[in-house]
Amino acid sequence: MNQETLLVGLAGVLAAAAPIIFAVLGETLSERAGVINLSMNGTILLTAMSGFAVAYTTDSLLLGFLAGMVIGALVALVVAFASITLKQSQVAIGFVLALTCRDLAYFLGNPFMGVSGPRLQAMPIPALSAIPIIGPLFFRQELSTYISYIVIFLAWLWIFRTRPGLMLQGIGEKPAAAYIRGANVNVMRYVYTVIGGALIGLAGPTYSLGVRAGWMGTISGLDGIGWIALSITIFGGWNPARAAFGSYLFAFLQWLGLVLQPVLTQVPSQVLQVAPFPLMILTLLLVNIGDAEWVERTLAAMPETTRKFMAKLLRAMRASPPAALGVPFERD
């Protein structure tokens, strides 16, 4: 493989990660506020279909993306209403929406299956795209990929470097304390869940109008991505920078599977395509295992140097969810 094809491949990884980044960061915002939006898998499919359908009928890419965001926000609103106002199980409502939105996408998307419609074109950035290596890698992308870079940065900045972001951390960790500090916990949870939903809704059109242009119904290959994005949210430790790293890693592994296919002929190609998923569980295990009591006991029995190294490794991997995740807030 020469340098040219390698660069094209890696640039493709950055583009393929863009929709996952939108979904993971949307989920991160929502979960930071304490609400799990489990509907993601269905939302991505539904917004992919409707984004394509709207762009196709109106011939406007912008409207397609907007439609995706609005629908993502509406689905999130149902999650917020059921869990915050009606105090029903977030997991139950999210799971049902995940299945319903998926089937709704297949049902409503039927007339649009396989038709060719508008799609984003590469938009090289003048000057920057001329830089060797960095140019073709980062700056000859589609608009959605540039937006994904910006969203990572903004989300990180918002959560860790602004006052409202601090409050956001508060309503997910210690809602009672945030309430005393003057935060209207439930209203803020509504706001972040809906904004997070809109961001998740951006993921669908990024697929259907860019990365995997078009709508192919059940063979679109998008079913399952939402579940992956959920586990990347955990892997990301509810930190936008780490979440972005997880998204890139996942996209890279999928690309690697494609590249390795001709080399590993004895492994069926269908297996390589799903190979990143088991790796995801493994990382989830590493992220969580530091909290288990038996691990601490085993560590204590190890010789000093190994123990220190292992403890450091586990601490670096570890990520704890917001303490009030999934717990309804009631002032009393």
Binding site: L86, Q88, V96, L99, T100, N110, V274
Partner: protein
């Protein structure tokens, strides 16, 4: 108590009609007649004996999976990994059948062994999710989802790798087993009374466990309040694992019957989404095992009834999934409204 049960029933009825109304609106929006669509679905599911037999073929795995999920739900667990547990059941059964394919052992014994093999494999897969949760701190939802993907990968690997068909491997699955390895079917229909009986016995056992045993009571205690259960001296993590094992075994049985009674081979989509559908049925019946029978039958009828829709009305057959999902959604929402407003009065 009686009053709350009555209001619960009324709200569920409201949810049912809201769901029908919502789906009708969707149908009108795509330019189809809701009346025709529902009529065709009804006709497609109970219009003839042959069609109704198909409904029962779909009902068996759904009921088995729901029975298992009632146990994990009672233990407060979201066993999303049930889909993979069905797959492993099918793999385990296929494995046992392959072992005996050229042997002189009586086929009836082989079939029984293979079903137990499937149940064991399903239970093992559930134990993975359980162990990840108890010893690794991985939430059962994410561990289960991950294991679902792994089980799909495993199926594909087996179909395209070691168990591939003579000549060329394909998505159509492994080499079909000889007819003697199939559970006996009703003449001219695809349904096997044996599998129907297995599913029926399973739901009765689960009903009995949850209603009439000390074991069931402990599982429910763990599900209601894990801390209180622990303080009362119930070994909570063991009971969580037991419920995973039972659910996995029942899901494994569903997978086993998909192989021995329906497809007679391992195919890539062997679980057909019954695990996820079973989660919805289990949510809908709200821990009441006996209700699982009519609800699972209704959901199976929707599945089969929608198969003809693409030919008859140019509608996608995913309409059944929409109707099922919207129904559960409205039941959850109306239940929330009821709890919020009715209880206070």
């Amino acid at each position: 108590m009686l009053k709350s049960r009555l209001s619960g029933f009324i709200f569920q009825l409201i949810a049912f009609f809201l769901a029908l109304g919502f789906v009708s609106l969707i149908l009108v929006a795509v330019g189809a007649s809701p009346f025709d669509a529902f009529k065709n679905m009804l006709n497609g599911s109970i219009g003839s004996m042959r069609k109704f037999a198909e409904v029962l073929v779909s009902f068996v795995p759904l009921l088995l999976v729901t029975a298992g999920l009632l146990i994990t739900f009672s233990a407060g667990l979201w066993n999303i990994g049930v889909e993979g547990q069905i797959v492993l059941g099918a793999i385990g059964t296929t494995w046992v059948l392959r072992l005996f394919v050229d042997s002189s052992v009586h086929p009836a014994i082989v079939i029984i062994l293979s079903i137990f093999g499937g149940m064991a494999a399903g239970a093992l897969w559930a134990a993975f999710a359980g162990a990840l949760k108890t010893f690794g701190g991985v939430n059962e939802i994410f561990g289960g989802l991950g294991l679902n993907f792994v089980s799909t990968a495993l199926t594909l690997y087996l179909i395209f790798g070691p168990w591939k068909r003579e000549g060329v491997a394909s998505m159509s699955g492994t080499e079909p087993f000889p007819d003697v390895f199939a559970l006996p079917q009703v003449p001219d229909l695809r349904i096997s009374l044996w599998s129907l009986a297995i599913a029926g016995v399973a739901i009765l056992i689960v009903y009995f466990i949850l209603q009439g045993t000390y074991f069931g009571l402990k599982i429910k205690a763990v599900g209601k309040n894990i801390r209180a259960a622990y303080l009362l001296g119930i070994p909570t993590w063991q009971y969580s694992l037991y419920s995973f094992l039972i659910c996995g075994a029942l899901a494994g049985a569903a997978g086993a019957l998909q192989v021995t009674a329906v497809y007679h081979r391992l195919i890539p989509a062997i679980s057909s989404g019954y695990g996820y559908l079973g989660l919805m049925v289990a949510m809908l019946v709200n821990y009441q095992a006996i209700w699982a029978i009519p609800v699972a039958l209704f959901f199976a009828a929707l599945n089969i009834g929608s198969i003809q829709l693409p030919i008859l009305m140019h509608l996608d057959s995913s309409l059944s999934g929409v109707l099922q999902g919207v129904l559960v959604l409205f039941v959850l929402l109306t239940e929330g409204v009821r709890q919020k407003f009715v209880k206070k009065v």
